[in-house]
């Protein structure tokens, strides 16, 4: 059954498609935070499984790369495992769970706790790339808003949050302004991770498959979370300690550990948690 080397070009996509995606990536890096349209391909997995991220990863991968795939911070969820297996099979690249050893990291919902380095690429899977979509469903209109920097509407959303909940309750996909110009949706990462995007040494690439958009944040780029003067942005986390490694500064998941419904807090970044234990 495994005659895969014969059936697929390296990393599944044909070279023509990779060139098209790389052109979009270069454009995206040149205009930080700007959504570049690209001709998204059918991938052998459903849309909700990160086809945008997979295509970006496929266009970036070289034979010497070491790939790490995480979903909600963990390397061993179904989604992460299946994407990692996919690239092992169609690209034959080495894979790792160790954040520091990876050259390309594809992620859904988290940015690793360990500070990334200049020789790493972080690829985000993005379901909805347009941060203004919630209040303005017309794509023609949101494009004009980006072009003319008409971003008042983004604050209307935060205003609504405060007036309904007494605070900015947006906890995921918290909007940011990139390089003092474009407003960007950081994909559904928790807002706890937003500060990690600011002046990050690694390249950050975002792929939305269904919506056919690619955007990027080049290394060492200013990424600021939107807020009000009197309701400043807070990178909040559960005020708890990881019950596995004792970390007090990480993003925690609350997990049920037995059939009695006992709950436990532990690092959502499983590789980081393991490295702290030992």
């Amino acid at each position: 059954m495994s005659n895969s080397e014969e059936d697929f070009n390296f990393a599944y996509l044909d070279e023509q498609t990779k060139r098209m995606i790389r052109r979009a990536l270069i454009k995206a890096i040149c205009i930080p935070g700007y959504q570049v349209p690209f001709a998204s391909r059918e991938m052998p997995m459903p849309y909700g499984w990160g086809t945008g991220g997979v295509q970006v990863t496929a266009a970036c991968l070289q034979e010497t790369d070491v790939l790490k795939v995480i979903d909600q911070g963990s390397d061993d969820t179904t989604n992460a495992v299946s994407i990692r297996k996919f690239f092992e099979r169609v690209a034959g690249v080495k894979t790792t769970e160790n954040t520091g050893k990876a050259s390309v990291i594809q992620t859904r919902h988290r940015i690793p706790e360990q500070v990334l380095s200049e020789d790493q690429i972080l690829v985000y899977q993005v379901p909805i790339p347009e941060p203004l979509r919630f209040l303005e469903p017309r794509e023609t209109e949101t494009r004009v808003m980006h072009a003319l920097e008409e971003y008042g509407l983004m604050h209307v959303k935060l205003y609504e949050d405060i007036s309904i909940n007494g605070e900015i309750s947006t906890a995921y996909a918290y909007p940011v302004k990139v390089n003092d110009r474009y407003i960007m949706d950081p994909s559904p990462t928790p807002k706890f991770d937003n500060p990690k995007m600011n002046f990050c040494p690694a390249i950050q690439l975002f792929g939305a498959g269904r919506e056919q958009r690619i955007y990027a944040v080049p290394p060492y780029t200013k990424v600021i979370s939107l807020d009000f003067e009197d309701y400043p942005f807070e990178a909040s986390r559960a005020e708890k300690t990881c019950e596995i490694c004792g970390a007090t500064n990480t993003y925690l998941d609350e997990v049920v550990i037995d059939d009695k419904g006992t709950r436990m807090f532990s690092c959502s970044d499983s590789d980081y948690c393991n490295s702290q234990k030992s």
């Binding site: 209040l135 004009v144 003319l148 008042g152 604050h155 209307v156 609504e160 007036s163 003067e229």
Partner: protein, 256 residues
């Protein structure tokens, strides 16, 4: 008095229909001009051309901005045009759904223009929104309610607050009281008129209702089939109409 808006020889055709046929109008600072005429006479088309939401086939429109520059509206770059629409101008639609975000609270609707021009202090935005919702006679307790649960008259008042909060200079209104009960209409007109006077606004208001026109406008423009058939001071036009079409309009309202 000084002019604030000048339009010359505006033309707009839809297929074979001349919705605006060589129309010229001028608006003076602080003046309320009413555009009246039967359904289909081209009132809304003219208003939309003047306010930039429709591009006329020909003609020339200039506007005197806050800094005393005459702007050529038909060649004005899009960013400046949209900026004018958010700051110096306002547009009150007949259907409040066209002017409000129904999924956003009343306060969010009123505050949107402030946020659009750079307000970043929540308490300040909320304080100004509260002041304006009260100014249009809606109980401030409704600030966090969605406009979808407001009555038609309240929605219209909300639309007015949303538009006036940034203290525009020029307001376009297309049948602002159309579709409302007579008593609600009268109160709303009262409110609009007092705000217009208080803020010294220049207004172009489209209506097919001569009673509304008489109540609101200093000057009238009477349209028929895309043409201006008569223009003059409101009382003059309504009490002593010169053109046969105006005479017909006035007499038909008297019969009602």
């Amino acid at each position: 008095m000084e002019q604030i808006l000048k339009a010359k020889a505006i033309n707009k055709k839809f297929g074979d229909v001349y919705a605006c046929n060589n129309l010229s109008i001028e608006l003076y600072t602080g003046e309320v001009v009413g555009i009246v005429g039967e359904s289909g006479s081209g009132k809304s088309t003219l208003l939309n051309c003047l306010s930039g939401s429709l591009v006329p086939d020909g003609g020339n429109i200039t506007y005197l901005d806050r800094d005393n520059n005459w702007l050529d509206l038909l060649s004005l770059p899009e960013p400046r045009k949209r900026n004018l629409l958010r700051t110096e101008w306002a547009f009150v639609h007949q259907n409040p759904r066209d002017g409000l975000r129904m999924a956003v609270s009343a306060g969010g609707n009123i505050g949107e223009r402030l946020m659009a021009i750079g307000y970043r202090n929540y308490s300040q935005i909320r304080a100004e929104a509260t002041e304006w919702i009260e100014k249009v006679e809606i109980d401030a307790i409704r600030l966090d309610d969605k406009p979808s649960i407001f009555s038609g008259g309240m929605q219209q008042r909300l639309q007015i607050a949303k538009n006036l909060i940034t203290k525009p200079r020029l307001i376009f209104m297309d049948e602002p009281t159309g579709g409302l009960d007579v008593s609600v209409q009268a109160r709303l007109l009262d409110l609009i008129r007092s705000l217009v006077r208080e803020l010294g606004l220049s207004v172009i208001i489209v209506t097919h209702d001569l009673a509304v026109a008489r109540f609101m406008a200093n000057r009238l423009i009477v349209m028929k089939n895309g043409k201006i058939v008569e223009t003059g001071l409101t009382d003059q036009v309504l009490d002593d109409p010169q053109h046969s079409y105006t005479q017909l309009l006035v007499s038909s309202i008297l019969k009602v």
